[in-house]
């Protein structure tokens, strides 16, 4: 037992280096996803039909197929079209494109959650559509979106383990290396799982912090 603990402690530094790559993949993919979602959402909400259908098609395509397949397609499939990406970039692209679809839906539903009465009231004061979104709708929608966005970030931390398949040496991949050397699959994967868990728990914790920081004073129930 003590020996096992000792072994796990010994491999942590090696795994931690992989964790840094995992977090890097997650952070970049999340940022790419958010930027794309920020473009997709207005298309989905305001754009005339052809554009909004296009945005919707994108979202459905990425939510309706496995991330692993998307990853394989981008890393192994695209070279046939002359687009050759290194594993890390392919990971950013696949996870980023995938996350964009989910984040766009989160943003859209948060905007939809703002009651009609808020628009009416802003319109009655003579505000323009742009002003209504900028000052009234988006500040409230972002608050609504935060828990779901953090949740998406946590999901992405875990899903980033898939990029090990195409050879990105992140946390899971380093675990596989260790198992190959030591044959101690149980101990190694417990350590790997533990590291994922710690990081995810920490990320979830930030939701509570952010929600408290950005809470609307006096807002106690789920109604406005």
């Amino acid at each position: 037992m003590l020996e096992t603990l000792h072994f796990i402690i010994k491999i942590i530094p090696y795994l931690a280096e992989g964790l840094v790559i995992t977090l890097q993949v997650t952070a970049v993919s999340f940022a790419v996803g958010f930027a794309l979602a920020a473009l997709l959402t207005p298309l989905r909400v305001f754009a005339p039909t052809p554009l909004s259908v296009l945005a919707r098609g994108y979202i459905e395509a990425f939510r309706g197929t496995p991330l692993l397949v998307q990853l394989l397609l981008i890393y192994f499939g695209l070279p046939s079209l002359g687009i050759k990406l290194d594993p890390l970039t392919a990971g950013f692209v696949a996870l980023g494109l995938n996350s964009a679809a989910y984040q766009a839906e989160i943003l859209r539903s948060s905007i939809k959650a703002i009651p009609e009465s808020q628009y009416l009231s802003a319109e009655s004061l003579g505000m323009s559509t742009l002003q209504i979104y900028r000052y009234v709708v988006l500040p409230q929608a972002v608050r609504t979106a935060i828990p779901a966005l953090v949740n998406e970030f946590v999901t992405l931390i875990k899903e980033s383990s898939l990029v090990s398949i195409i050879g990105v040496v992140e946390l899971t991949r380093r675990g596989e290396y260790l198992v190959a050397y030591t044959f101690k699959a149980l101990e190694v994967y417990v350590a790997v799982a533990l590291l994922y868990f710690l990081v995810c728990a920490l990320a979830s914790q930030t939701t509570r912090f952010l929600e408290k920081r950005l809470a609307i004073p006096g807002y106690t129930r789920g109604v406005m």
């Binding site: 009416l120 009231s121 009655s124 003579g126 505000m127 609307i216 006096g218 807002y219």
Partner: protein
């Protein structure tokens, strides 16, 4: 009251989908006049108010607000709205902004006042409704009555040619109504034109120069408060008043 007409509505028709809600309404409000609209729910009172500033798009008819043809397709409707004050049944303040910001925001972005000018106006109107001590509070930290008074202050801050009030006390508990009605009585004394949808009989009797009774999308009867409340000519008006009285009595007993 034979002043200039600040609001003229002629043969207004409007509805939602295939349902006609307003079936040819005409009314006027003169400068400084207080007009109260009463009528059962579903009679189109709220739709009428919203049509006046095209928050609901009318089907046809004429609307003139301070001489501006509101129905003109080329009219700058936002400028028209900036010159009218609209108070909603459920207050509709912006919950993520302080009381002060709720009032200064439209002044800054719509009326293009500087921050300092906007804050001066906001303080003035908040004093008027007795809430100057609440400027840094958020709407949901206030009672319903206080929120509605902020909404009234926000409407007043735009210095509107007419105040449109859509059942301003209907969402409130009886004990909170009186403070809002008191605020509205004060506002009425300052000579601003007001068009008020309400079921508050005492308030209507005190404040109104004229009462219009609406039912089923048409004006049933119109006259001075004493005529409508005590000498109604139409059977429909009598039935409506009787029903309100009964509700009042029930609320009193309960």
């Amino acid at each position: 009251m034979a002043g200039r007409e600040v609001l003229t509505v002629r043969n207004l028709r409007a509805g939602y989908g295939d349902t006609e809600v307003l079936k040819g309404i005409s009314l006027t409000v003169s400068e400084g006049e207080k007009v109260v609209i009463m009528g059962p729910s579903g009679s189109g009172k709220s739709t009428l108010l919203k049509c006046i500033v095209r928050l609901v798009e009318p089907w046809e008819g004429e609307i003139y607000l301070d001489g501006i043809n509101v129905m003109d397709p080329k009219v700058n409707i936002r400028a028209v709205r900036a010159r009218t004050g609209f108070v909603f049944q459920s207050y509709n303040l912006f919950p993520h902004m302080t009381v002060l910001r709720n009032i200064t925001l439209p002044l800054e972005v719509v009326k293009k006042l500087s921050k300092k000018e906007a804050e001066e106006v906001a303080l003035k109107v908040l004093k008027q409704v007795g809430l100057e001590d609440f400027i840094h509070k958020y709407p949901l930290e206030l009672s319903g009555g206080q929120q509605q008074r902020v909404a009234i202050a926000r409407a007043l801050a735009m210095d509107p040619v007419i105040l449109l009030l859509d059942e301003p006390t209907s969402a409130l508990d009886p004990e909170l109504r009186e403070e809002v009605l008191e605020t509205l009585r004060d506002v009425a004394k300052q000579g601003r034109s007001m068009l008020i949808v309400t079921h508050e009989l005492d308030f209507a009797e005190d404040v109104a120069d004229r009462i219009i009774l609406m039912d089923n999308g048409v004006v049933v009867e119109e006259g001075e408060p004493w005529e409508i409340l005590y000498r109604p000519k139409k059977e429909r008006t009598r039935r409506f008043l009787k029903r309100i009285m009964r509700k009042l009595a029930e609320a009193y007993v309960a």
